[in-house]
């Protein structure tokens, strides 16, 4: 479903991703673990299409189609969702307005009929409740004044209503206490299915206790240096990144 071949990415003229290969078939959940500076966020921003991430070599295909020549909004419509490590505050734009604009923008690009206010509210209300998101929170400007946990729950809400084919979650566990992590993990697990792929990017193993991956990859210095099943994460937690041949310890 998502296939990355020999990817090289420069940021500000410096090579951060250095020949990364990775394939996530549909129906599978993969995890990428890596120390600080390994290139985790660079990978997620590159996949989502952010300006300033210059692909110098390699290829990324998503559902059989070249991903890298697509605009960010087209990638979202294609079904790629990036859950941000640091969700952005947008003063003045109510969360509901934002969600509705996004859902209908994506539906329009997918050739589906836009939701009217009633249909949209019905969709959001149910999903928001599962994630402990109150009506009051939905009225507030996007992420403004939200706690760390609220921001991450808001990311998951966006993911759920946008109904993506592939979920890319960048350090979704950062800034979460254990209860919030449980809520977020439940939200993610509910989306697991035979047609959907997921890539969970994380520094720590603990999120993977709640979202159990099919495969685990270790990212260091811009490439995958080791792959294995879920036990690899536990082994990594025990031994530390240093034992896997990376000199940048966590």
């Amino acid at each position: 479903m998502l296939k990355i071949e020999n990817l090289h990415v420069n940021v500000d003229g410096k090579e951060i991703i250095r020949g990364l290969d990775l394939e996530v078939p549909k129906g599978e959940v993969h995890a990428i673990m890596g120390p600080n500076g390994a290139g985790k966020s660079t990978l997620s921003y590159t996949l989502a299409g952010r300006d300033g991430y210059e692909v110098t070599d390699g290829k990324v295909t998503f559902q059989g189609r070249d991903l890298l020549d697509r605009k960010p909004e087209e990638r979202a419509a294609d079904g790629l969702f990036l859950g941000f490590q640091y969700p952005v505050e947008i003063p003045g734009v109510a969360t509901l307005t934002f969600l509705k604009t996004a859902v209908n923008a994506v539906r329009r690009q997918r050739g589906l009929e836009e939701f009217d206010a009633m249909q949209f509210m019905k969709l959001v209300r149910g999903k928001a409740k599962d994630l402990n998101i109150s009506d009051e929170m939905l009225k507030r400007p996007v992420n403004v004044g939200f706690s760390g946990g609220e921001k991450k729950r808001n990311e998951i809400l966006q993911m759920v209503v946008l109904d993506p084919a592939f979920c890319l979650l960048d350090e979704t566990d950062s800034g979460l206490d254990i209860d919030a992590m449980k809520v977020v993990a439940d939200g993610v697990n509910a989306l697991r299915g035979p047609e959907r792929g997921m890539l969970i990017i994380t520094h720590y193993q603990r999120l993977l206790d709640h979202i159990v991956p099919d495969r685990v990859h270790i990212l260091a210095e811009g490439r995958i240096i080791e792959s294995g099943d879920k036990d690899l994460a536990l082994e990594l937690e025990k031994k530390g990144y240093a034992s896997f041949g990376t000199d940048r310890a966590a």
Partner: protein
């Protein structure tokens, strides 16, 4: 000596009273302001001088384009090219009285060039008064329409006088087609406990010049709430001088402006806290695109005796183009020691992080940008209590920000 001043004064009436003559003489002596004067250092009137020098070109004779009301059921007065249209006089039991052709309260407003020009050359004016304790339920909508029929320009004087505990809502709207120069001098006096809500919409023709000078005096416990939306004119300056003369008085000045093309939009305000326990609150927000330029000058003066003054002032500008410009000059002059005053000015660009975030959710770049620009401005509209009016003004500013907006069409 000053040719543009002489041209502007060409049709000065022979039978003018002493006040007009004095205004004319001052104006003739000093002429139009230049950037050499501190108060005008960011606004150069040379394009206006050039327009005046070239005036005399054939006037068009299209019928004036009268816009739909901004407030439903308002009492409307049309002023076309500086002349009141039709018979508008009222003196109703509600305490509202409107007279035509009057001059300003002569003792008010100081001697500034725009004021002098408008007073010297106005062919018409309005004096609106509200009697003590009268609440005028029906909003008053003054619609100024410029047609470009009259080469050179048109000038007007407006007097608003609210006696003790009177209450009024006024919408002052300026629009038009073609090229013209419009000046307006206003004098606003609020008696003790009086309350005036004043919404000004500067939506002049994109070829027009708009120069306005208002003097405001507020008595004990009086409240003046002003909102200006500024989207029109090639060059506009809206200058407001407010004196908080009575204890417990307050003023709120809100402004939203949106410039495109080569528009120049200047908002200059002065607030004098003359006595103790007065409050001022001032927030202007602007969005500037293309090569447009915004100017914000905000003076707050707190006199020696004006203890317990609260003054707050903020100008925020969003620059959408690298060639857009904002000049912001807050100036606080404080002679009392027990006051709470703040001022701030920010100029920023679209937040790239937020833009990417919206795009990553499937919203295209243009829509995402619009959403953020509207959000930036919308906050200021919360200051308008009337929901219908608020929505209409929001729609207007959103339209003004779209490429290809042309009010003349």
């Amino acid at each position: 000596m000053n040719t543009s001043a002489d041209t502007l004064l060409q049709t000065f009436p022979a039978d003018a009273d002493a006040e007009r003559v004095a205004a004319r003489d001052r104006f003739r002596l000093l002429g139009l302001p230049t950037p050499k004067q501190e108060a005008w250092k960011f606004t150069n009137l040379r394009p206006l001088e050039q327009f005046i020098a070239a005036a005399g070109k054939p006037a068009n004779d299209a019928a004036p384009d009268i816009p739909a009301p901004l407030i439903d059921d308002s009492r409307r007065i049309l002023i076309i090219d500086g002349r009141v249209d039709g018979d508008i006089s009222v003196a109703d039991p509600a305490g509202l009285s409107i007279e035509q052709g009057s001059h300003l309260m002569p003792e008010m407003g100081g001697k500034r060039a725009v004021r002098d020009l408008a007073i010297a050359m106005s062919e018409d004016g309005l004096r609106i008064t509200v009697a003590a304790d009268a609440t005028v339920g029906q909003a008053l909508e003054l619609v100024f329409v410029g047609t470009g029929h009259r080469a050179g320009g048109h000038h007007f004087t407006l007097e608003l006088s609210l006696a003790a505990n009177a209450d009024l809502t006024v919408v002052e709207r300026h629009c038009g087609t073609q090229a013209y120069a419009a000046t307006i001098a206003s004098a606003i006096r609020l008696g003790d406990g009086a309350r005036l809500r004043h919404v000004k919409v500067q939506d002049e023709s994109q070829e027009a010049f708009h120069l306005a000078d208002s003097a405001v005096e507020i008595g004990r416990d009086g409240t003046y709430e002003r909102f200006i939306l500024s989207v029109g004119a090639r060059l506009a300056r809206d200058e407001v001088h407010t004196s908080l003369n009575g204890q417990g008085s307050s003023v709120r000045l809100l402004g939203a402006y949106a410039g495109r093309g080569q528009q120049h939009l200047d908002h200059t305000t002065h607030i004098d806290h003359a006595v103790p326990n007065t409050t001022s609150h001032e927030v202007y927000k602007g969005v500037l695109d293309d090569r447009s330029r915004g100017v914000f000058q905000g003076g707050i003066k707190v006199m020696k005796d004006a203890q317990k003054t609260a003054g707050h002032q903020l100008n925020k500008a969003l620059l959408l183009s690298p060639r857009a410009e904002i000049d912001s000059k807050p100036a606080l002059e404080i002679y009392a020691d027990d006051v709470v005053c703040s001022h701030g000015a920010t100029a920023g660009e679209i937040d790239e992080d937020a833009l990417f975030y919206l795009r990553a959710r499937g919203i295209d770049a243009v829509t995402a940008k619009n959403l953020m620009v509207q959000a930036f401005l919308d906050e200021i509209f919360d200051g308008i209590a009337d929901e219908t009016l608020r929505d209409r003004l929001k729609d207007r500013v959103h339209a003004a920000l779209q490429p290809g907006d042309n009010q003349d069409a």
